[in-house]
């Protein structure tokens, strides 16, 4: 063990022998520990909510979408669908058309998104549309297309009267109401023929990489289509989540900076208190480089103890709050019943690494000043 490590260890372990230094050192450790704890708990909370949102996206939305490069119609959709099904037998595959129609009930009419899906056997509306039209299961609605047909009475919009079989949860990020129809019915309303605009794919085993895999297969086969994965389909939301994470990390991380400044004062105070010790150490041969290292080790040692204790407490508190569901949420407002916490080991390691780096940076300045002094300076006025 190098002498400076031996000394740093003895200084930290021997703190009880010097009450004043021990007190300020303990305050520095507690400061860093609290900063780490706050950051770990906050990020666990954020990760809890964000992972809930991501899970909702995965549960409810397509994991990849194949769309034409130009225009709105996919060429040979049935052939494309059979190719995809052959390549990815485990994947759920749905042919889609989309458009906007006027949806009316007995009392009101609003424009709404119309989605025709090959897996839809009945008509359903989402909660947003149901609320706007004050309708529910078994009610009748009329879906009126922007397309017209010629009749003896002149051009009339194509319309379908149908009964609502169920009300479903809106897609993540949806703002307007939507109605889900069987594919053929939607094709008749929106296109007048068997047009498919997109093929949605879902792979519950590996949703986040499905887009890249499909893109690779279709590119190899030279199929001229665009494939969007989950990242592309929900880019604004996912970017907002990532940005939120960074901003929270920086904001709460300021606590660590304050703790590091406190540590800097503490190390400078230890250096002042141990002025004679340092001169004696230099006198018996400890080099300026080793003196610098000794104080860096002291700072990092304080940072290590603080960050390990803070991270352990933070992880413990987060897991406890999550498993006991100690912070309940109002039902019907959130998709989860209590505040979720999710501890990501990589995040904890990053927080600890940042705390240690700040501790090292905080002790660097005083260690540099100490190493520059002539050893006799500490002894001169004794």
């Amino acid at each position: 063990m190098p002498a400076e490590l031996h000394l740093a260890r003895r200084y930290l372990l021997g703190l009880r022998r010097r009450t004043h230094v021990a007190t300020v050192t303990l305050i520095s450790m507690v400061g860093l520990g609290l900063g780490v704890l706050a950051l770990v708990v906050t990020l666990a909370l954020l990760d809890g909510f964000q992972s809930t949102i991501r899970a909702e996206i995965v549960n409810r939305a397509a994991h990849a979408r194949v769309v034409p490069i130009d225009g709105r119609q996919l060429e040979n959709p049935s052939e494309l669908a059979s190719v995809l099904q052959g390549e990815f037998p485990q994947v759920e595959l749905v042919q889609i058309v989309r458009g906007t129609c006027l949806v009316s009930s007995l009392t009101d009419a609003v424009p709404a998104s119309v989605v025709g899906r090959s897996d839809a056997l009945e008509v359903s509306v989402d909660r947003l549309l149901a609320a706007r039209l004050a309708i529910g299961r078994s009610d009748d609605v009329q879906v009126i297309s922007p397309r017209h047909r010629l009749t003896p009475m002149g051009p009339l919009p194509i319309r379908v009267r149908t009964e609502i079989a169920r009300v479903h949860v809106p897609e993540p990020g949806a703002e307007t109401g939507s109605v889900r129809l069987p594919l053929e019915l939607a094709q008749r309303l929106l296109w007048g023929g068997p047009v498919v605009e997109a093929i949605d794919l879902r792979d519950v085993e590996d949703p986040w990489r499905l887009g890249a895999r499909v893109r690779g297969v279709l590119a190899d086969r030279g199929v001229p289509v665009r494939v969007d994965g989950l990242e592309e389909l929900h880019r604004p939301l996912l970017l907002a989540l990532a940005l939120e994470r960074v901003m929270i990390f920086l904001a709460v991380g300021l606590m660590l900076v304050v703790a590091a400044l406190n540590l800097l004062c503490n190390v400078a105070m230890v250096a002042a208190e141990k002025r004679i010790d340092l001169s004696v150490l230099a006198g018996i041969g400890l080099s300026p480089r080793s003196l610098r290292r000794l104080f860096l080790l002291l700072g990092v040692g304080i940072g290590m103890v603080g960050s390990v204790v803070g991270a352990s407490l933070g992880v413990g508190i987060s897991l406890l709050l999550d498993t006991t569901a100690a912070l309940p949420l109002p039902r019907g407002v959130f998709v989860v019943s209590s505040v979720p916490f999710r501890v990501d080991p990589a995040t904890v390691v990053i927080v600890m690494a940042v705390a240690l780096a700040l501790a090292a940076a905080a002790s660097w300045l005083p260690s540099r000043m100490i190493a520059r002094r002539e050893p006799a300076e500490g002894l001169r006025f004794e």
């Binding site: 063990m1 002498a3 003895r10 004696v280 006198g283 018996i284």
Partner: protein, 230 residues
């Protein structure tokens, strides 16, 4: 700087402190030679620069002017790392107030120069045990400085100074804080180890009686006056 019998040589050394308005010249144009194996006492009134002289010889400080040579080599321009290595391997220090590290017990305090030199813990502690035996403190190995008497602390400090088997021992009023009995005991120990280890020793002291027991006396006078080498 050429006599093979000379271990320490100072030529026209000056040292002062403070800025231009508050400057105090402590040493001016000082010449000094110390032969190998000598036990030299440095005496003089307070503030005359005895400790400063010892710090300069011990490479704890740098002169404003002049040259200092150890074993024939000029050490004035050496960088901090080389000076530290020289202090560790060539020079042993005993300070007035023992200056043991509070966090280390007697054995670890003595072993510290060896640890700094890169010795392993086991070997360093074995050498420390030898020295504890030599200063008759083998039963105090695990006592911390605040659990030792003043005389014992200073004996531990002497043992620490000799841990690396230095060629030059520098002692700054090693008996300054001790009563007569402990003073004579510590000084007797220093002299005994000086002879046993074949050291060259320079001892700063106020005590004329102890100075007379040395091979020679270097009497420092205030700057501007002549110094006397007896």
């Amino acid at each position: 700087m050429n006599d093979k019998q000379t271990l320490v040589e100072l030529r026209s050394v000056s040292k002062g402190f403070g800025d231009s308005s508050t400057r105090v010249e402590v040493l001016r144009d000082l010449d000094m030679e110390v032969s190998r194996g000598a036990l030299l006492a440095v005496v003089g009134p307070s503030g005359v620069g005895k400790s400063t002289l010892l710090h300069l010889i011990g490479l704890l400080d740098r002169p404003d002017e002049g040259h200092i040579a150890l074993d024939g080599s000029d050490v004035g321009d050496l960088d901090g790392e080389t000076r530290a290595r020289l202090r560790n391997r060539t020079i042993g220090f005993v300070f007035q107030h023992h200056y043991l590290l509070d966090e280390l017990d007697a054995r670890d305090n003595i072993a510290l120069p060896l640890r700094i030199a890169g010795e392993g813990a086991v070997a360093a502690r074995a050498r420390a045990d030898e020295l504890l035996d030599a200063v008759s403190l083998d039963d105090r190995a695990h006592h911390f400085p605040d659990q030792l008497s003043g005389g014992e602390q200073q004996r531990v400090a002497v043992a620490r100074a000799l841990a690396m088997k230095p060629r030059l021992l520098l002692a700054d009023e090693p008996t300054g804080n001790l009563d007569r009995e402990n003073s004579e005991q510590v000084f007797g120990l220093v002299r005994e180890l000086h002879l046993l280890a074949g050291l060259t020793s320079i001892i700063v002291t106020h005590d004329e009686e102890l100075a007379r027991m040395c091979d020679g006396t270097f009497r420092l006078a205030p700057a501007g006056e002549r110094f006397e080498y007896v």
